[in-house]
Symmetry: C2
Subunit: 417 residues, 2 copies
């Protein structure tokens, strides 16, 4: 089959749909979302059948464990999808907002108006719920979407996409605003990534391998998220009780996610007081500690190697380093970090602001847990991921990050001289 | 020679310099710019010698005409470079601005703070003045720069870069904030485009071929500008005298640039009044007209083919099409346009706003010339180009577009529960 032609047609239909979506009213878009939530309930059995087929195929191919779990549309996941739709209905529509306006000496009124990005391609792995979670945000922000999920979730994704498409149509919006690439052929992804004239941006959702593959081959911009090697620096002017609670929360509350702390940096002046009590709390929660030489003179733990400073454990493991100053902590973060999330614990005014200003990560915190780097926690609402590259979006990507601004100019005959 | 190793070293030095640049004060950055302007005057002969060498080599290689002209650092170009530096000194420093701040229910103060992009690679063609023009904007916005100019301008670029580097150093800033790739080897560009861990964004400046090459091979984000196929739609409710002046300015004032009008769309109800007088004015300015069938029934001109609707003439040529409605004009723009600049001439309130909202180009104007799509004209100050892709920057890219925002959070022990 000639995927190049099929994909070009999908791209052309998406582009045409994107212009209709861009002028859709807020109530039309919300109506489509409401119909989607209803259809997910009404078509429960159809979805379960499709998912069962995918699960059987996956088991026959020897897939098991966490991967099989991610593929499963459990009752819990179904409920979360519906709750997600209801959340997005409540969010304000970003499209059409005039973010600034000024007047030029010649009387020309110039402004910036928020508009959708256009056509967004989403390339993801085994979780079929991403089909809904990602599409609803793109729809609310007035975009058209091309979805390319994991081959093992093909039938589930197809069933969910059918629901989205018929809901769009019932609300008077173009069904082609959401399309699934109708093949599990990997070469189709490569073709899709070449279509810079039809696709405005691609968002890969999944492991680092997938993201690197997309970044390497895409000719259009990529909104991406690599590792989260998050640091907390406990300053010599820290409130150590506060530090203990923040560090514990950042490491233990949910160790498997990107905003969990992976390396703890402690100022030498407080290390002897802070590390023994912190180590005790961590050990009682089952956290494995790996320290620098100076740390190991204070607490009993394994040796941290060079690799540990780069590691995103996503597990109950923590690297600990003693530093001589905040400057050394910042240098360490810039050298080994991943631009994701870093926090300082301090009661010192000057250092709090220097840390906020100098650390170049997507979220920099003073006296709060790294686990707060999340769209809901920061007050943006639902997010489509956390960007660790700086262009366009840096940090949690909510509705606003699925739009751009164009310039508008309101004149009365102004010319260039 | 192993360019891979050399480029990695350049990248590493640029990254280190970028952290120092990010915390440079406004007065330090302005001091470096001031020293640069002085050094351009003082080292006039050195620069001229280097440029002479490039020009001689270019002539020996058979380069002539416009390309040789672009390579020449004339007195006029030298003066413009210095004036450009003085302009950029006057612009407000975007770094550190807190663009928004809000408070979460748990008391956490969350904000967005403007920071530099980091390391910017600029890949350009024969004009050596881009070395200065691009670097000064990147420096003012707190970035480090890696420059890769055209091989034919190698000595000129080197001489200009030496001036930038010593000025940075004298102002207490790292010289490595601006580096030139020390080879004319084309494979070095390919290597540079793979360095996504060291380079945050690449900006190609030059012809469409160069830009497509960069977009295809870059693993990091690209800020790019393709064609400018700009349209003016003269509505049936237009003030035809205004329309005539705007259309004339947009086509004739400087036809060789990206924001000149290439296609004129005219509502059928005013075509018979408007086109004959407009054609007369255009012909007296030497503009070649190519019309659709209906146009050719009203005025005498060549036939416009399908290719003409896609054409960026950059010359005194204009395609003309009669349309039945504003909707048809917008459909034509979305189908054949390049997302650059489009204008409507109308006195109708509803249509003016519908055009502003529905046309998805980087600048949309009502009753003003497309030639106004320019950083200075819109009030942004100096620009590094006009982006026609929607991510991050859409339209003229000034200082603000050379920055991004990170999230900051000011807490008092906030945890995730």
């Amino acid at each position: 089959m000639n995927w190049q032609t099929t994909l070009k047609e999908i791209g052309t239909m998406a582009k045409a749909a994107s212009y209709k979506m861009a002028k859709a009213s807020t109530s039309q878009k919300n109506e489509a979302l409401k119909l989607m939530a209803q259809a997910l309930v009404e078509n429960h059995n159809v979805i379960m059948e499709a998912n069962k087929l995918d699960l059987e195929n996956a088991k026959a191919m020897g897939i098991s464990g966490a991967k099989l779990e991610r593929l499963t549309l459990s009752e819990k996941v179904m409920k979360e999808m519906i709750a997600g739709i209801e959340e997005v209905i409540k969010l304000p529509d970003p499209v059409g907002e005039i973010t600034k306006m000024w007047i030029r000496p010649n009387g020309l009124k110039v402004g910036r108006m928020r508009i959708p990005l256009g056509v967004i391609a989403i390339i993801y792995e085994s979780r079929p719920n991403v089909t809904i979670d990602a599409s609803i945000l793109c729809i609310k922000a007035g975009n058209a979407v091309i979805l390319r999920g994991g081959s093992e979730a093909f039938h589930s994704n197809k069933a969910l996409c059918d629901i989205i498409r018929s809901s769009l149509e019932k609300a008077g919006l173009p069904a082609d605003a959401v399309q699934v690439v109708p093949t599990t052929d990997r070469s189709a992804v490569l073709e899709l990534l070449k279509m810079e004239d039809q696709v405005d941006v691609v968002i890969p959702r999944g492991g680092e391998e997938l993201i690197r593959f997309v970044a390497e081959h895409a000719r259009m911009p990529v909104l991406k998220h690599y590792k989260g090697v998050c640091h907390i620096y406990v300053d010599n002017d820290a409130d150590l009780e506060k530090a203990e609670k923040i560090c514990f929360n950042a490491k233990v509350q949910r160790p498997s996610v990107c905003n969990a702390m992976e390396t703890l940096l402690v100022h030498r002046d407080v290390a002897e007081t802070f590390l023994p009590r912190m180590a005790e709390v961590f050990r009682s929660a089952g956290v494995e500690l790996r320290g620098c030489d100076r740390t190991r003179k204070i607490i009993d733990c394994a040796e941290a190697t060079e690799e540990d400073w780069y590691a995103e454990y996503l597990d109950l493991i923590l690297a600990i380093k003693i530093v001589d100053s905040m400057e050394e902590a910042i240098d360490h973060i810039h050298h080994y970090g991943s631009n994701h999330t870093e926090a300082i614990v301090t009661e010192d005014y000057r250092k709090s602001w220097r840390f906020l200003e100098e650390v170049q990560s997507s979220l920099v915190l003073v006296n709060a847990s790294t686990r707060l780097n999340d769209g809901y926690q920061l007050g943006l609402g639902a997010e489509i991921g956390i960007s660790t590259s700086k262009l366009h979006a840096f940090g949690p990507m909510g509705l606003e990050e699925l739009t751009t601004t164009k310039f508008i100019a309101i004149g009365n005959g102004q010319l260039r001289s």
